[in-house]
């Protein structure tokens, strides 16, 4: 099977509107509202659970007040549209178990249902664990991920995240015990330079380093990503030729296939998801399949204007009638 995907509205129409739950994020980003508004506008009787994620108090720069103000605007916009939702409040660095418990609460007791995970504004450490657990939870018959693009030119110049913690596995993605990864597979996009910190270890061990670049992509993002590629391969174009794949920014199946080809060729990867979220989603699915590690240096501070505007929303069916679509 391959991962069915398309405009979120079209994808959702394939599924029974009853017994549906959406987990999203009420954030400072406008696009976080897109899926809740769309589902509400279509009159789907969908239970909506929106997570509010708070940066740690010692984060620097401290954008707390600006982020709170921007989030309030998004809440008002939901209220104005009459969207009803239940609130879940989390610290960004909440223990894995709190995140897992929230999913369990959202799925409720017993009845099988369709779970929609809106990854647009959810941090990676949240949505990757949601996807992993939902895909094996029998209560979720269907699992759909939604990703809403930012508006045109929607990524500001300058830094979007700061104050990253040391690299560590994302919750639920520690990889198989005692199995050394055979290669590093990184996706790069915004602030891609952080990947450089991981590269030395692999270069030193003469292990393959593979990079995914999203296309099409924001001009600024493309420039930054290529800068990173240059840094990773120390300007040695001959090395980069076999190690860089330019793949669709949005086609999760395509990205998944590219990853699979590399896995067949080099063996179990260690993923470094620093690219667009659909790439992270594809890595997450592949990591589930191969019990591979997803490693990330979690930023503690997110810029309140991480993205602006709202682009199209895309839907990806990850589990259909109880069966994962990616494997």
């Amino acid at each position: 099977m391959s991962i069915p995907w398309g405009l979120a509205q079209h994808v959702l129409r394939r599924f029974d509107p009853q017994e549906c739950t959406l987990i999203g994020c009420v954030a400072s980003e406008q696009r976080g509202n897109a899926a809740p508004l769309m589902i509400h506008a279509e009159g789907r009787p969908c239970e909506q659970v929106l997570v509010e994620v708070i940066d740690p108090p010692n984060a620097y720069p401290d954008y707390g007040p600006q982020t709170a103000a921007a989030r309030l605007i998004q809440r008002r916009s939901l209220a104005d549209a009459g969207v009803g939702y239940s609130d879940e409040r989390f610290d960004l660095l909440s223990p894995d178990s709190n995140i897992a418990d929230m999913l369990s609460r959202a799925l409720g007791g017993g009845a099988s249902r369709t779970l929609i995970i809106d990854i647009s504004a959810l941090p990676k450490r949240f949505f990757c664990l949601f996807v992993k657990l939902a895909c094996v939870d029998e209560r979720a018959t269907n699992v759909i991920a939604i990703y809403t693009e930012a508006g045109r030119g929607g990524y500001p110049e300058g830094r979007l995240t700061d104050d990253a913690l040391p690299f560590s596995p994302l919750p639920g993605f520690m990889g198989a015990f005692g199995e050394e990864p055979k290669m590093l597979l990184a996706s790069v996009g915004m602030q891609a330079e952080k990947v450089e910190g991981l590269v030395d270890e692999y270069r030193n061990a003469n292990k393959h380093i593979h990079v995914l670049l999203g296309f099409p992509s924001d001009v600024t993002m493309t420039g930054r990503a290529w800068e990173t590629v240059r840094a990773i391969f120390r300007g040695d174009v001959s090395l980069a030729r076999d190690a860089v794949d330019v793949v669709s920014t949005l086609d999760v199946q395509d990205v998944f296939d590219v990853i699979e080809r590399q896995v067949v060729r080099y063996g179990r990867p260690r993923f470094a998801p620093y690219g667009p979220k659909p790439h992270t989603l594809a890595m997450c699915l592949s990591a589930m399949k191969h019990d591979a590690e997803m490693t990330y240096g979690q930023p503690r501070s997110y810029h309140p204007a991480y993205s602006t505007g709202v682009g199209p929303s895309w839907g990806y069916v990850l589990k259909w009638n109880g069966r994962p679509t990616f494997d």
């Binding site: 223990p95 700061d162 913690l165 520690m174 174009v237």
Partner: protein, 686 residues
Amino acid sequence: MTRRIAKAQQAKAIEPFVARRNPFHDPLVSEHYEDPERYLRNFSWTVVRGDIRQVFEPRNIVLLGPQGTGKTMILNLIRHRVISEALGTDWARHELGAVPRFLGISINLARVAFSRFGSRPIVAPSWSGTSEGEGATVAAAGDFMMHYLFDDFLSALAQMQKERSGRLRDWLDISDEALEDRSLARDIADWECWSGWYRGCRTLPELQVKAKERLRTWHSFLNYNLQEVPDAIWHSKASVEEPLHQMGNLLGRLSAGDAACPLYVLLDQYEELPNLSATLGSSLQRLVNRLLKARDPVVFTKLGARTYDWGRELRVWGSDSRLEFERDYATIDLRSVLGRTEGNQWLFPSMAEDVARRRIANEAGTGTTDVDVKEMFGEWRAESEAALYVRATEQAVPIEKVLGRKIPEDVRSQLVQILGEGSSLLDARLAAAWVQQRLQRGEAPTRVVAHARRERPWRNQWWRKERIEIALLQIASLTNQRRYHFGWDTVLHLSGSNIGAFLYLAREIWDVAARFTTDMPPGRFDYKVQTDGILNASQKWRVRDRVDVTGGGALRYDVMNRLGPGIHDSLVEDLAISNPGHSGFSLQENDLVDGPQRERLKRFLEEAVNWAYLEERRHTPKSREGRTRLKWFIHGVLAPVYELPIKRVKEPYYARVEEVQAWVFDPKARVRLAAHSRGKKPAKKK
């Protein structure tokens, strides 16, 4: 547009000229040398001298030092795989001759699942006798750590068993018979501390399979691949001390030699635990502290930590006691081992030279260790640097330029006359500084000129030595140029006795050089190549903090960007060079212990030292205030990017703590290091 394309094509044409692998790549990840042979080829034994030898002695040792000082590089030598490899070479065996024998097992606490305990609550069954809540999780983490170390211990035994007359078993004096005793594995399996987990295992590989099964179970649970921890695990939960003691005793029994053969436990990444586990990091550290507190006569713990990461958690899990310095452990501070001593002894240069030589031989593939590294970087002399700022066509102009504008015209012209034709820029700048100093003190111009003509006091050795660095900085600034940085001594000073910084600098210099020649390594790096490479390294070191995953780097980056230019401006604008030591600032030690704000400042300064963005030294004040002070300088490797002096002289800027707090925590604060006079306590604001 056409010109731009041509330029781009030209740049592209230059790029592939990288003939040899840059041997200084991967400067900060020596711990990733999984290949013991490669590790040993690049390991510099010059550092295993004096205090460092204590690392290999039977006592609990905490090796301290900022990021990049080589802690992991040294501690790696303890691992049994590395020692075994080292024993295979004559030179390493010779070096190890002075080291007491031991068997070293290790765990990297950040890489394995240990730091994930706390991410998922663990509920122990009531019958297991394990305490509830956090207690159960910490007990589980202890069990994981212990079985991980046991697995490594088994690997060492299995390896020795496999290799008849192996190097390690010879060194440890373990006989074939002792290892091949059929009851060995059965005896281990029957240790009471395992509570039957290994029952039925008859060989070492069987024990290993069973150990891995247990580790995999914990791992799967933490990774959400398993819903519950099986009862069999709880039935056989191990303590942290007892199994290690059994391993130590067994080693002693196996070894036939007269001298003791202790077990060393190497714990890596201890300091990262609070970062990796916000909820339980501190408790996990307390659990590890139990190993040090155990004072086991056959087991000794070795760990490395960044300077100020050690000491923040000295409590011991499950006990009211704390770790006691010298009773439970000793520390070795790499800053004092590698830094300059009072008697001007300095170990770092020979270490850096040896490391560079080894890297060029082994990593660049030249195969020879005969490269003259010092010659490759060449010599730095102040006069030769000053000469570089004189552009041939404008020789007369810069001399005037470097005198500065604050000296009255008549004094100026007389000074030019005193200096005479052919005077160097450096001489001119120092002379002008001396004159300006005297005039600022209110001396009559005629008297100053007469004194200058008579004695040329700026040539006084000590007066000059303290000001040369700043004079060069001012010359570069007054002639609208950046400072040139080149020479072996310069690279050493920029490194700040930090081998990571040294390799960073060498890497960038090599990269710049390799753009222009395939003949690497060259006999000598051109001074322009060195200047460019050093500036690249400095810029990257600065940005590294913002983009790297160090925790707290974003704030540090901003503070450095205020502090660096502030210090630069203060120094460059002080044309009288009245305060040559003001490239750093000093506070009384007890200034930092009063209240949460000052604690916060202290923490910031400590972290900046930990990550090699500030260098810190204790110093005695000139005045009679009677309290010890600490002084801080921006790390040497950052000096080029902020245009700061490389060498530091006395006396630093005596700052008020409120002032430093403002520099660090108020983004609008202006950094100036010029207000107070030398050695005097600044007047308090009314």
